[in-house]
């Protein structure tokens, strides 16, 4: 079963005008930051706090935008909408999808960073 790559490196590099050093820094920052944001998102979901869920998803979405990761971006966007609409019953499944995709992106970015000379 072949699947689209989790993020499009060429497109992501275009966004930073092919500045690979910058992209590496962004990736490292994301690898560090994203699990914290994901934890906050999960905590909001567990607490049933729709507003906090929307806020946390929104914040993640801004970061994900930098990496041209369309599936993850769409899931996160959906999660934000669910939070805004207060439809928490459907949020759990979407949140799980976000988490799963996010882990893939983090893995992919780790792999990218490992190919780069040490910063």
């Amino acid at each position: 079963m072949s699947q689209e790559p989790v993020f499009n490196l060429t497109e992501a590099l275009t966004r930073v005008e092919s500045d690979e050093d910058l992209f590496q820094t962004l990736a490292e920052l994301f690898i560090e930051q994203a699990p914290l944001d994901m934890a906050a998102t999960q905590a909001a979901l567990d607490a049933g706090d729709a507003k906090a869920l929307a806020r946390a998803a929104h914040r993640m979405k801004g970061a994900i935008l930098q990496f041209a990761a369309p599936r993850l971006f769409e899931f996160t966007k959906e999660l934000e909408s669910l939070g805004n609409a207060g439809t928490m019953d459907r949020a759990a499944a979407t949140c799980a999808a976000v988490d799963q995709e996010l882990q893939k992106l983090i893995e992919a970015l780790r792999a990218y960073v490992s190919t780069r000379p040490a910063a």
Binding site: Q33, R59, K61, G62, Q66
Partner: protein, 402 residues
């Protein structure tokens, strides 16, 4: 001595050639990405991690442009905009609000709350560049307008203070009220229409038994007539007049002044009324150049205008100003006045007029002259409906005891 080289020149202004942009975003990855884009445009970038910190940096650093994320903890973008617009020190700051969703209703809300422009987080490099440049252009226009405004304010203050000191000088030329000699009591009241009046008056001693007094009006309003009036008043000082004429004949003074103060190129001229009083003969001699504002109020209350139809000064070289003589009795009063008094208009446009003026004088014949003149001024003011007359309003009164 060594010639001064660079030291006499003012130091080059330290204004940075590089524009400064403040970027406020709580999310570190997108903030780093946008900051890198802005730096690549050659901009100096300041960063803040939330609205509160952003507002503090904005106040401290006065960036040329501020790019604000919409959704932030502590204080969101639109709230920062509102705070900026309420603070007179920073209200002209240029602000771009960043959105991840540019729905029209959000744009309307952002504009209403004080944003200048919008930028989608997903915007292309070209769009970011275009919006930033447009924001910087607006910021530089605002700065140049503000600096012009500040210069104008400073100039205005300087002019006002100069006008004030010129006004104080003109005031210093006015006489001191009270007894000007045995049996001659003098009072005056003056209300210039601007900071500087073009009407002046004075009472001077010619010799130990005679005085002369005048009311002059320089045509026009403002600084130039006031200066011309001051110059004419200086000419009319006794120590100067004695060099020009041998007798304190008012007509001789006018003929001399007529030669010295020709009509100016822009059509400025003087009207003046001059009288002299001799304590030994109890006679007043007077002459006028286009000025109609003097009267005598006898002890019995009868009023007589002291006018003669003659051209203002400077119109014709050989105007034959001549002198009229009247006899003064004990208790007679003379009032010299600017036309600004009886020409004070009511809201309807109707002038106060000499009839109402003389009626007021008659009603207050028993009032001491020092109080009668302010009463006359107050009546004119009541007619006019405002304490500021369109023209200078001066009153000079003399009361004779024999």
């Amino acid at each position: 001595m060594e010639p001064a080289t660079a030291s006499h020149k003012p130091a080059a202004p330290t204004a940075p050639a590089v524009a400064t942009v403040l970027l406020v975003d709580d999310e570190p990855v997108s903030r780093l990405s946008m900051a890198a884009r802005l730096k690549r445009m050659g901009l100096r970038v300041l960063e803040a991690k939330d609205g509160k910190e952003g507002l503090a940096i904005l106040r401290r650093e006065r960036p040329d442009l501020t790019i604000l994320d919409w959704v932030m903890p502590e204080m969101d973008g639109p709230t920062v905009c509102e705070q900026v617009r309420q603070d007179p020190d920073i209200l002209s700051s240029q602000i771009i609000l960043m959105t991840s969703h540019d729905q029209p209703e959000q744009i309307a809300e952002g504009l209403a709350r004080g944003a200048d422009d919008f930028l989608s987080k997903a915007a292309s490099k070209q769009e970011v560049l275009a919006r930033v440049q447009s924001g910087l252009r607006a910021a530089s226009l605002v700065r140049s307008i503000e600096s012009t405004r500040d210069e104008l304010r400073a100039k205005q203050e300087e002019l006002e203070s100069e006008l004030k000191s010129a006004g104080a000088y003109i005031q210093s030329l006015l006489p001191v009220a009270g007894d000007v000699g045995p049996g001659i009591h003098m009072a005056w009241t003056y209300r210039p229409s601007l900071a500087l009046g073009g009407d002046l008056f004075n009472v001077s001693h010619w010799d130990d038994h005679s005085i002369y007094f005048y009311m002059l009006d320089a045509s026009g309003h403002g600084v130039s007539p006031a200066l011309r009036a001051a110059s004419f008043a200086t000419f009319l000082r006794a120590e100067n007049l004695r060099h020009c004429i041998t007798d304190n004949d008012p007509a001789a003074m006018l003929r001399e002044a007529n030669r010295r103060y020709p009509l100016t190129e822009d059509g400025s001229y003087f009207t003046v009324w001059i009288g002299s009083y001799d304590r030994t003969t109890h006679q007043v001699r007077y002459a006028t150049a286009g000025h109609g504002g003097a009267l005598i109020q006898r002890k019995d209350g009868s009023i007589e205008w002291l006018t003669s139809v003659q051209l203002p000064l400077g119109f014709e070289m050989n105007t034959p100003y001549d002198t009229t003589t009247i006899q003064i009795e004990d208790g007679d009063r003379m009032v010299l006045m600017s036309d600004g008094i009886y020409e004070a208009p009511a809201v309807t446009g109707e002038l106060w007029g000499t009839t109402r003026l003389t009626a007021t004088l008659t009603a207050h014949r028993a009032t001491p002259i020092a109080a009668a003149l302010p009463t006359l001024m107050a009546e004119a003011e009541r007619w006019h409906g405002s304490p500021v007359f369109p023209d200078d309003a001066a009153l000079l009164g003399l009361e004779f005891r024999i």
